[in-house]
Symmetry: C2
DNA sequence: CGCCTTATTGAACCCCATCAATATCTGTGG
DNA sequence: CCACAGATATTGATGGGGTTCAATAAGGCG
């Protein structure tokens, strides 16, 4: 879990990584200081504005990345344009698909995003030497699989109102990597994506999303300022609606 | 990919494993002969009839398993009974959730199933020694994640007809582990599950599934004998319908 | 054959999509 | 600072795909 915890304050650790590792619990935590240093030589930190396409669907992958801030959306598109968002990556998630030449999804910055980008080859090579890396990746993959399956239940069986409530609950509990599962029953945050994105995530239309948000607002389950800022006075109530 | 290929015919390999490994490409392929032998001491092969619950939702996990034949369904249930199947495991898939005490899904035999069952502790211990095991598990997890995301598109954006066509295509291409992606454009197979299961997999009702199957039959896309046996004269056509 | 489970078919309804109009937000330039 | 324009969001009216309720038919197994 934290093999390198004592390394965090080691002055040999790249500054970029120190700032990251101190707060997050990403895959790089599996690396020893010297490995981290080696990887960081080919690493660049980058800020990209919302809407930037990081990897196209069926496109060859040359790089991996860690999300440092913001939200990355993974989506799939059908021939006739129908779109479905199949995953949201928050800090400190790893973005990439090892063992595969090309991506089966499109990765795009949903909000403004800060990324730590490194070449596929570098990490692939390091995976052979440092088994802890594969261990971390396996853990994250299994968590993502749990999330994906949880979302399949939402997509397949929930009503529009339950879907929107589920989405708001997801964001409320994931947007801020600092306060892990805060014990307060209250949350305030900015929606990291447009109504169109939310609709594509929920398998709904923009109009239905808008109507359900209005409905939740009028019912006092959420409060909204502008179109993006949401306050949830009672997260438990929101969760109850999300789960029927 | 096949580190132990030369071991397959080694007489030291447990008979159970020899029969399995020869045909399939499961996670045990990552083990050396002596490791395989050690694991096999705690391993039992078991046939279970359709409907057998293997792991309950939120139940503690004591064992893992490999699917040797048949289909295992993974499902989630809401408080009010709404159900969604979130994964289908075919031979030689691994069934289990490492790094977690309890399961977030219910695993149940969809058809009659043959399993190779081993204690969680045994494999967990072996994962520490044999890094190749985690490598295999990572590969399978990433593939399952790809599958889950593909299915999210189906659940969120496809019509009932496209969903049923997608399901039939999935079964046609996965039911028989022997003939990997057969090059013929024709397929014949038995549906491994009831209409109720299919509905729960597609996020539809039994009635809608039945109507869409009838529709595909009348259109000549599929032929049906009894309620289970399906023939697909033109898989490409089925796939075209599945993808809009 | 007869019983029970599973599947099909029919009719009415409803939730969400679609089409359409209006409102609000955002940022840019006068 | 305000006006304007394009993008984004809300709200309304209508319609359709899938659900629901109900009845009939077909398998499966003693």
């Amino acid at each position: 879990m934290s093999e390198s915890r004592q390394d965090i304050h080691n002055s040999d650790v790249p500054t970029l990584c120190r700032a990251c590792e101190a707060r997050h619990n990403g895959i790089c935590g599996a690396l020893r200081t010297d490995e981290l240093l080696r990887l960081s030589r080919h690493t660049t930190s980058r800020r990209v504005p919302a809407g930037t396409e990081l990897v196209g669907e069926a496109e060859n992958i040359e790089t991996y990345a860690n999300v440092l801030s913001g939200v990355v959306k993974l989506s799939k598109v059908m021939a006739d344009g129908r779109q479905q968002i199949v995953g949201l990556q928050f800090a400190p998630d790893f973005v990439g698909r090892p063992f595969q030449e090309s991506s089966k999804v499109c990765a795009e910055a949903a909000s403004d995003v800060t990324l730590c980008i490194f070449p596929k080859r570098s990490l692939d090579a390091m995976m052979v030497e440092a088994p802890g890396l594969e261990h971390r990746l396996l853990r994250q993959s299994l968590n993502e699989l749990d999330d994906a399956r949880e979302w399949m239940l939402t997509l397949g069986r929930k009503t529009a109102e339950e879907k929107v409530a589920s989405f708001l609950h997801l964001i409320a509990t994931h947007i801020d990597p600092e306060k892990q599962v805060a014990r307060t029953n209250r949350a305030a945050f900015d929606l990291p994506m447009t109504r169109a994105d939310i609709a594509d995530f929920l398998g709904l239309t923009i109009e239905t999303v808008s109507r359900q948000i209005t409905k939740l607002r009028k019912a006092g389950v959420i409060e909204i300022e502008g179109t993006r800022h949401v306050t949830v006075p009672d997260i438990a109530e929101l969760e109850a609606i999300a789960n029927g």
